[in-house]
């Protein structure tokens, strides 16, 4: 937290394993409170955000040490940093290597950039307006096969009357477009969603739900799986809950490893990454 870095571990790393790579230092332009990291397998690139400097940064896939990004999206034309968003932004990012686009959830809007964009560039599309039902959205994932994006709210405090939702839009939606689906309601058990992932071959949306943001050991945390066709007050099709067996306390990040039928979960309260064998979804 106090020390910004991206630590890279072997897939089979366990307790007290040493990182195989450490990306840190002034030239990296990393800040703390990075809430997303995406690996683009097609182009062998890694994407992260710097919310304090309102930047999207792209590194070589194998970046190591004090290595500078190869591209940075930042500046007055980018629209990054919805002033209405809690604690500024941008917080998260998603990449579509098939259609060469970068998606950024940014409060009441979604910004879409050319994947190869560099510098002070304007988005190629903006999804924004009252019909979108977007409000303080902070997380997003893209499915280039089923042609949808999933967008969700990531910040809900204890005592809030309104819980978060997951909105599903056409991938190319722009302007004041309506969502094609909204997953919300008591049966969903959604409080707020942090990192989101998609599994295009099966159409799954995989979400990390860490519970209320201001509670150290919140109730009702889980990793939930929905389908891109889901709509309304529907429970997740599968969920791995925060139980004594799973040891999860406050899961904020999730990523999929289809080859080994695994999901990896970043747990902030444990300061750790948990790997679960999860063949049901692959």
């Amino acid at each position: 937290m106090a020390h910004p870095q991206i630590a890279v571990f072997a897939r089979l790393a366990t307790e007290n394993s040493q990182p195989v790579r450490l990306l840190s230092g002034q030239k990296t332009r990393l800040s703390r409170t990075m809430h997303d990291v995406r690996y683009d397998e097609v182009n062998d690139e890694m994407l992260v955000t710097n919310p304090f400097a309102r930047a999207i940064m792209v590194f070589r896939g194998g970046a190591d040490g004090e290595e500078a990004p190869i591209r940075i999206i930042q500046g007055s034309n980018t629209m990054l940093g919805d002033p209405t968003r809690y604690a500024g932004g941008p917080d998260r990012v998603a990449v579509d290597a098939v259609h060469d686009e970068i998606f950024v959830p940014d409060g009441s809007r979604v910004l879409v950039f050319d994947r190869k964009a560099n510098g002070n560039v304007a988005p190629i599309r903006v999804l924004e307006g009252p019909d979108t039902r977007m409000d303080n959205e902070g997380t997003l994932a893209v499915d280039p096969l089923n042609n949808v994006i999933a967008v969700a709210q990531d910040t809900v405090t204890a005592g809030s009357a309104k819980m978060a939702h997951i909105l599903i839009f056409d991938r190319t939606a722009k302007g004041n477009a309506k969502p094609r689906g909204e997953i919300a309601g008591p049966k969903t058990e959604i409080i707020r969603i942090n990192q989101l992932q998609m599994h295009p071959p099966k159409g799954w949306i995989v979400a990390a739900q860490p519970g209320f943001i201001d509670v150290q050991k919140p109730e009702g945390v889980f990793i939930g799986v929905w389908h891109v066709s889901d709509n309304g007050d529907v429970p997740p099709r599968w969920k791995i809950g925060g139980t004594a067996k799973s040891v999860m306390l406050k899961p904020r990040g999730v990523v999929l490893n289809p080859k080994h039928k695994e999901i990896m979960v970043a747990d902030m309260r444990l300061n750790s990454v948990l790997t679960f064998y999860f063949p049901e979804i692959f």
Partner: protein, 460 residues
């Protein structure tokens, strides 16, 4: 030298004969090693490895023993049963996936709850130290642990022997009731010994404990603070407390005894301040100055603002400053060696200040009047120093010692007050085995997977 055909044929025959003899010898060695392994029964892994080496293992086109490793613990992980009719070609599998993507799988009215242990867990089981401070009354050293969430208290003369796993603290303050979580700033009241601990994220609460607090106890006092506070410094004369705020590029000044939802007395904040992701803060009471370290992440423009990177810097303000005020002076530039400067400490007696230079694994010392692109007047840096991601720094004035907390290697290191260069520490307080490098995972908000290299990406 040219060879005749007869000489050439003779050499080839000799070579073939030698190759056959070598083959027989190699085969005998391999067979002997295998026989040894069979006869010995339950042979341990090192012996198998030695036998393999003894057999002069080399590429043969046939299976060979190359390593022995224990099976990893599994929970629910097994090879999937495949029906005899299952398609085995890759193309068929891809077509199946594509077909499935268009179909909507049937759903039940309830979730399938997966009750499963993780097969692996990446975590550091030792504390990592984000800040350090001293109780001037007792000399005790307080270290803020950001990994396991607590404060560890050590005797100032503790010195971990090289062969010891770690040094046990005199006492430990931590647990759910303490509200310590991702704390990164420490201040010990020089008169009462009260412990002030700054929260960087999640709880947004400054917690204050009485001097002898230990265990999982609630704070004696709490103050709701802005999101993203980092550094702390106190003007004991005016009873004012200075906190840096990363998210808003600000310095918030509170009454030292503020609590609950009490508001800041004043703020230094705005584009003119050149505060840019401020971290450490220290006060020069003699010259009435505030010194702040900045990482360089900032905003520019008005309505709307937008992001900008500027070089890391030390910015200096008058203690009476408030609002959108420009710094009196700035230290920044290539000569400064600043690289993610963390906590800072003013040594009024020497007219100097010390900077924990996180990403350069160094301690920089500047003069209080320095400004611009100036080189540090002293620098502790190099392999002998045992510095690794230094975050906290202070000077024990009574004993002329410079203390550093290192986030990257689980230890505090102690140097003479005027140490310079690649100097070994006088003493080390280590909280993990020798050579153990910290994972330094802190509040992981996301995780990525590099499928090409089969590696897990963990950002802080």
């Amino acid at each position: 030298m040219a060879l005749s055909a007869t000489q050439g044929e003779r050499m080839i025959r000799n070579f073939n004969l030698q190759a056959k003899r070598f083959g027989v010898l190699t085969g005998s060695l391999l067979g002997g090693a295998a026989l040894y392994v069979l006869l010995m029964g339950n042979v341990a892994a090192p012996e198998l490895a030695d036998a393999s080496k003894a057999a002069l293992r080399s590429a043969s086109g046939a299976p060979q023993l190359v390593a022995v490793a224990p099976l990893q613990a599994m929970d629910g992980e097994m090879c999937e049963w495949m029906p005899a009719s299952a398609e085995s070609s890759l193309l068929a599998a891809l077509q199946q996936d594509r077909a499935q993507s268009g179909a909507v799988p049937a759903r039940s009215t309830a979730s399938v709850a997966i009750e499963r242990e993780p097969v692996r867990q990446i975590r550091d089981t030792y504390p990592t130290f984000s800040a350090i401070a001293q109780d001037a009354r007792t000399g005790d050293i307080f270290m803020q642990d950001e990994n396991l969430f607590g404060i560890r208290v050590f005797d100032r003369l503790d010195n971990t022997p090289p062969n010891a796993a770690f040094t046990e603290p005199k006492r430990y303050l931590g647990g759910h009731n303490t509200k310590l979580e991702f704390n990164c700033g420490l201040y010990i009241d020089p008169k009462t010994g009260d412990i002030y601990s700054v929260n960087n994220d999640t709880t947004d609460t400054l917690v204050i404990f009485e001097a002898n607090a230990k265990g999982d106890v609630p704070p004696d006092r709490e103050l709701r603070t802005p999101h993203g506070t980092y550094g702390i410094a106190v003007d004991e004369g005016k009873q004012e407390m200075y906190l840096t705020v990363e998210h808003t590029n600000a310095i918030a000044v509170f009454n030292k005894y503020a609590q609950g939802t009490d508001k800041a007395l004043r703020e230094i904040r705005g584009l003119s301040t050149h505060l840019a992701d401020p971290h450490g803060v220290s006060l020069d009471i003699k010259n009435q100055l505030i010194l702040v370290t900045n990482h360089g992440n900032t905003l520019e423009g008005q309505n709307p603002t937008y992001g900008k990177f500027i070089p890391p810097a030390i910015t200096v303000y008058p203690m009476s400053a408030k609002g959108d005020i420009a710094p009196l002076r700035t230290i920044a530039g290539a000569k400064t060696m600043l690289n993610w400067p963390a906590h800072i400490w003013v040594d009024e007696g020497r007219g100097e200040f010390y900077v924990a230079n996180d990403a350069d694994h160094s301690i920089l010392v500047f003069g209080i009047e320095d400004q611009g692109d100036v080189a540090p007047r002293r620098m502790i840096r190099g392999a002998n120093t045992q510095l690794r991601n230094p975050m906290g720094v202070f000077v024990d004035l009574q004993n002329d010692e410079l203390w550093v907390s290192n986030m990257g290697n689980h230890r505090a290191t102690v140097y003479p007050r005027t140490a310079n260069g690649n100097v070994a520490p006088k003493r080390v307080i280590r909280s993990a085995p020798q050579g153990k490098i910290a994972q330094a995972i802190g509040n992981p908000g996301a995780v990525g997977y590099d499928s090409k290299r089969e590696q897990v990406l963990v950002p802080n």
